[in-house]
Amino acid sequence: GAGVSQTPSNKVTEKGKYVELRCDPISGHTALYWYRQSLGQGPEFLIYFQGTGAADDSGLPNDRFFAVRPEGSVSTLKIQRTERGDSAVYLCASSPRTSKNTGELFFGEGSRLTVL
């Protein structure tokens, strides 16, 4: 079956530009997460959606980062005025309804963002 799909797989942009990264979760998964993985590090939590609403956005580093999930399926991570320090792999993950899940997160392959 189809896994979590992320596009683009690679994005190179210039400092100060706006970027959108898209995540298409596994069908039927209501929970969606964004994590950021810097080179040589473990993933760091950014934001969590349960359905359409952002249930926890405490990991977003600043107000240049924003994410939406308008219909409870596809999500878009938006980064304004990109900085070189934003360069990382942005991972999306999904899981079934919290009350039924085993705790497992299903990750996509990530979108590698490079800010020049």
Binding site: G40, S95, F107
Partner: protein, 113 residues
């Protein structure tokens, strides 16, 4: 603030040997401890997980040992194979709705044939 510390950063093991990766956590509210495996260019994938009501969990060649009093847990890979070469991450999260995982820094494991 580093809440989950992982060691070693890299590990080389001969084929057939035992690979051991260790993690320590600080937050006593954590109650779910998974290990994720990541191959280059891929996302992390759940390998095995444990909750603090047991001290050990085994799935095939993979075993988690958990020491609640010491706030430590470890992954043991028995009969290590070249296909096990990957980066391994321990993680932890609190009971509740979100799987807001806190990951360790990762261990790059290389199994020599």
């Amino acid at each position: 603030q580093q809440q989950v510390k992982q060691s070693p950063q890299s590990l080389i093991v001969q084929k057939g040997g035992i690979s051991i990766i260790n993690c320590a956590y600080e937050n006593t509210a954590f109650d779910y401890f998974p290990w994720y495996q990541q191959f280059p260019g891929k996302g992390p994938a759940l390998l095995i997980a444990i909750r603090p009501d047991v001290s050990e969990k085994k799935e095939g060649r993979f075993t988690i040992s958990f020491n609640k009093s010491a706030k430590q847990f470890s992954l043991h890979i028995m009969d290590s194979q070249p296909g096990d070469s990957a980066t391994y991450f321990c993680a932890a999260s609190k009971r509740g709705g979100a799987q807001k995982l806190v990951f360790g820094q990762g261990t790059r494991l290389t199994i020599n044939p």
